[in-house]
Amino acid sequence: MGQEHQKAARLQAFAGYQVTEKMCHEGGANPDWKFMHCLPRKGDEVDDEVSLGQGIRLRLPWRVLDEFETRFQKSLSPVDGAVTSVLLADYQTGLVGCHRVSFAGRRPRAMLVISGFARLPVLVSADASIAYATYYRVGVLGFIIQPFGPTRRPSCGAVLPSLSRSAEHVRTRR
């Protein structure tokens, strides 16, 4: 169908466009630059150092993310900031999306894994999350899995309200 050919052509055309710490440093980005990606990540366009190191911020309206973080901070207050990292796991390339919530710059000690994008078996997301946790040596507090049917790719806007309900669920179970 020519798709493989297209992929090869794209990879060639975009050679040198991979987002890396080195490239952003050389280009003179703000030292505190943040990386965003709308997911799923393929891996060619950003290297692991950036995507695993600083995490991926979903390219979503800020208002949505703000609300998202606020709800999490509120609903997870029983653990008193122990959850300092929220991972949005994706299915396609293993560890894909990560939105880290940083509390006063402290290193995450535990994280809550939210898989809102799993349309393949959730174990793929779980695997990715464990890989992330191992990488950062943080504990996994729990999983919130949002399984979706194979044909339904949810938009992020559709995912977030259900995520916050799930967070409530976790709190009440504790």
Partner: protein, 82 residues
């Protein structure tokens, strides 16, 4: 991004390969020009578009990219905002 960020005052810097297929479609760019998104106003907004990603990230607060190819749809090429 092209027709919204500049209107919010963000400076948008985009780097793509030189081929036409990686530039904004004509109808999109016409809309950009119609809205004046390509021009800076009082040092705010505006769009820079070039080929060198290093140049694109100069002064960037946020760096955005997207996947370069997808199986069934056309791709949104790499782009950077600041």
């Amino acid at each position: 991004m092209l027709v919204t960020y500049p209107r919010l005052g963000h400076i948008l810097r985009v780097a793509t390969p030189p081929q036409d297929e990686y530039r904004a479609p004509k109808e999109v760019w016409d809309r950009v020009v119609e809205l004046g998104c390509d021009k800076q106003v009082d040092g705010r907004g505006g769009i820079w578009w070039g080929e060198d990603p290093r140049e694109a990230v100069r002064g960037a607060d946020v760096v955005v990219t997207d996947t370069w190819y997808v199986v069934f749809h056309t791709v949104v090429p790499v782009s950077f905002t600041c």
